[in-house]
Symmetry: C2
């Protein structure tokens, strides 16, 4: 088995659980946040920097790698791990989300999706078989089924059709899945309909997968609705398999997701806002370019022990951003990833100590979630 | 004395010399190449990365720091070393070169130069006294006199006038120089006129400085002419003081400069071309974006032991450049700086072993200097 989920502990006061995900490239402590390396690099970071901040697994995007540099080239390089010099676990998505997001540039049939590259307009075809083949060539530890992500809002009719296709395509992905050292996860869809979430989970369970993505959330719906959908969906999933909430990465959503039983998360949020000069701190969001930071010689976050906070002032980082220096966004990226990864370490410790609700309340009070949001 | 030059050995076969420059922030082995950190950061690098590649001293630019974030802010931060988290020696230029390069945006008088900022068009004044004050606030270990760099080509008349002003301004800089923990270097001008180079050196020697910049070279003249000027200038300088050839940094010029008695160099070349995807290797220049590198899984330079060459292939770095990923230019910047710094280590060893001419010939033959140039 490519991936084995080991349940360590279930929280007595919430649905949170502590686990270990055993993969060919190492063991991951869950709940876990996965930094995103879309184009075979977590933007602006080296693998060593990611390891120093305790990143245990990263995500990379099949759609982007398929188009550039191409899966065959990465296979020739010895696989994605070797190509990008990352020897810890990698999860790749299926490209479904990106392909469906192309809007007028794609055409869907039962067979798959014909689409035009966002890079050069060239025409390509992606299907459950092709997405699985590409991920086979990449050699990631966890690969995802090719699904149809329902946008928000969607009619019940559309949501049912997408769900049914997702189920049929999941079966085809499983059929196309050949590498024993890779685990194929199915993806639960069903939009914002309770019974459709239950149906999607049930159908995927019948096919059988070693883990489950929860897709179609964090697509524009209000957060309470997302939490409600998690409350419906997770009880439908087996306790001995990991649950991965796709595309979610704000601190509040991580905590709320964990409390509802989510084991894995990924999101570009921490790295993307970092490159724009916005950082997460224990007392809320800081926009580094703001004039108030010009002569502020304190670190980004006085409670933080990341490389950036140990060595640089807000004034210096602001200068770097004003001067458009690359080191600026390196420092904020390091800080934001460290902030989320450290938050997850605290979350795991809180599950161990049965104090997750207190961690949540303390965090939210200091962070000021009533007042602001990412 | 802020800076003391210790002559370790003179080459028997060339004018090269091995030395140590003692500064308040550590000892520098010479001949040395100084990476350039224009805006209080060596572009795309952390201080730790620079240390890992054995950078002993960096250069920063007074003109840029004066405009942004301002010298007073850096003084408040505890000086440039602390502001940018670099605890090894720093040399700052005077801003003269940049101010004179502004062309129509500047007006020169005997008192100083009035100029408009390239950032926002605001009007500023720089003079020998002001340039020295700014560098005093920055707290660099070596500060440079405010000079007038003669462009190439220049008439004898203009060159004489610039030389004379440079001498008068050097005296004013010395007068304004107050910190014992900073060494003020004079700058030899004189364009491409042998007797004017000699005169400039003589006049600066009369004022008295602990080290000398050689300015107005590498400003567009043919390299043989630059070497000829070095042959004239260096014998006019005292043997117990360091000699710094300003703005020079191609591998061939470093070697040729050392053989003529130069101790210090700086240049944006390795970092600038790196960001455009051009790397220096032991067998010549490589343009990483070229199609021939698409499936080349060898390192940039098979003889190199830098972080980049130990961990990444040409194919991967090319992918990063094609995908406009920041890690790409980080990796090429690391490689190019390591390449030049390692070349200087080899040069120092060759002086020790009396084999500098052989190193030069071997390097040039492999690098292919007959065929190409940076």
């Amino acid at each position: 088995m490519a991936v084995r989920y080991e349940l360590i502990k279930e929280c007595k006061r919430t649905k949170a659980r502590l686990g270990r995900l055993h993969t060919p490239h190492g063991v991951i402590d869950t709940p876990v946040f996965m930094p995103v390396g879309t184009q075979a690099t977590v933007k602006a970071m080296t693998p060593e920097e990611l390891k120093e901040m305790n990143a245990e697994i990263i995500l990379s995007n099949t759609y982007h790698l398929f188009l550039r540099p191409g899966a065959e080239l990465i296979r020739e390089a010895g696989g994605l791990h070797r190509f990008m010099n990352w020897d810890r676990p990698i999860l790749t998505d299926s490209g479904g989300f990106q392909v469906f997001s192309l809007g007028p540039l794609r055409k869907i049939s039962e067979d798959g999706v014909t689409f035009k590259s966002h890079l050069d307009g060239s025409t390509h075809f992606m299907s459950p078989e092709r997405a699985t083949e590409v991920q086979t060539a990449l050699g990631s530890d966890i690969i995802m089924a090719f699904d149809e992500c329902t946008p928000y809002p969607s009619t019940r009719e559309y949501t049912v059709a997408a769900l049914e296709r997702t189920t049929r395509w999941a079966a085809r992905c499983k059929e196309a899945h050949i590498r024993d050292d890779q685990a194929l996860f199915g993806i639960v869809q069903g939009g914002m309909y309770k019974d459709l979430r239950e149906r999607s989970a049930r159908e995927l369970l019948e096919i059988g997968f070693p883990g489950f993505g929860i897709g179609g959330l964090s697509v524009g719906e209000p957060k309470p609705l997302m939490y409600e959908m998690l409350d419906y969906t997770i009880p439908c999933l087996p306790g001995d398999k990991p649950r991965y909430l796709m595309g979610v990465g704000s601190p509040d959503c991580l905590i709320e997701g964990v409390m509802r039983g989510v084991d894995m998360f990924d999101c570009v949020l921490p790295t993307r806002i970092a490159r724009n000069g916005t950082v997460m701190t224990s007392s809320g969001r800081v926009v580094i370019k703001n004039a108030e930071n010009a002569r502020d010689f304190r670190p980004l976050d006085e409670e933080c022990t990341c490389y950036t906070c140990r060595n640089y002032s807000r004034a210096y980082i602001r200068h770097l951003f004003k001067a458009e220096e690359i080191l600026g966004l390196r420092l904020t990226t390091i800080h934001n990833l460290y902030f989320l990864l450290t938050l997850m370490t605290k979350v795991r410790r809180a599950i161990t100590e049965d104090s997750l609700p207190e961690l949540r309340n303390d965090f939210f009070a200091k962070y000021g979630y009533e007042l602001e949001d990412f």
